[in-house]
Symmetry: C2
Subunit: 170 residues, 2 copies
């Protein structure tokens, strides 16, 4: 399927953990958020909530202090914190899946805009502390923090062969 | 961001539950599976496993009998069953999120190929029965079934306004 830009984006997107000092515009951040908004969810319950932290906001350092990837958080132009609203969820597994769809939409959107992004999941181990540090209600469950900026690396990654993922030939 | 095909695909993809009688080629199914394969996962553990059921396979009716959306399953040209390998998982939340990223990649890929697809989640309520009906090992946890075919409807869906999802202005 040569020349299919959606398949190309899915194939070539990489986690980007090094960013230049350049900013990301509000318009670009909004495009990334919009991509998240259009993810599917079970019963279309859309339980996700977003918080944006721009460079210069003191909360950036607070978040950085709660993950071993603080150096990535500190260098990002923008953080998008993704939460689930516990009052809006209906099935833990399905709501977490839909959060994954949101995050993947955002990563693909960032890639399509020539931005770099990385899905920070380790910080979720201290999700409750993040919620408190951001002075948010405890009805929110942290799903991930997406660090966003202008890429200062190419990124690389590997995957298992498709045959290793198939339960039988097709 | 006019003319960005990735953002357009994310924005315009819809659940398609009605399919024509036309088949989906093996090449197209493979492109959808490849898109799933390139999803991100925590620690790059890639815990997902796939099973493809093509039209004419008696297992299609077996799966149809385990969901109230059996009419969608029966009319699909192809089913992609997505599982997690319990032996490969490391965090239920993060593994379910990555399954969501896989599924979203597959839905976007199908859309980009002018195929129709729907994420069937209700069937997960009987996931153990699906695993047994397909004669698969009980180390697999059903995540979703994607019904795939040539679209015979346009599909429609709505989302909350972005402002309703933001925890504060940005």
């Amino acid at each position: 399927m040569p020349g299919n830009p959606v398949l190309d984006a899915i194939r070539h997107r990489r986690s980007i953990r090094k960013f230049t000092d350049q900013d990301v515009s509000r318009r670009e951040v909004k495009a990334v958020l919009e991509a998240g908004r259009w993810a599917p969810s079970g019963l279309n319950n859309q339980p996700w909530r977003f918080l944006v932290i721009r460079r210069g906001d003191p909360r950036q350092a607070a978040v950085a202090g709660l993950t071993k990837y603080g150096h990535v958080v500190e260098r990002a132009a923008t953080l998008i914190c993704v939460f689930l609203d516990k009052d809006a969820v209906y099935s833990p597994m399905k709501d977490h899946q839909s959060a994954g769809a949101v995050i993947q939409n955002m990563l693909l959107a960032a890639h399509s805009l020539d931005l770099g992004a990385v899905w920070l999941g380790e910080i979720v181990n201290r999700g409750d502390e993040v919620v408190r540090a951001l002075d948010l209600p405890d009805t929110l469950e942290l799903q991930a923090v997406i660090a966003l900026g202008r890429p200062d690396q190419k990124g690389s990654s590997k995957r298992k062969e498709l045959g290793d993922l198939m339960l039988e030939d097709f």
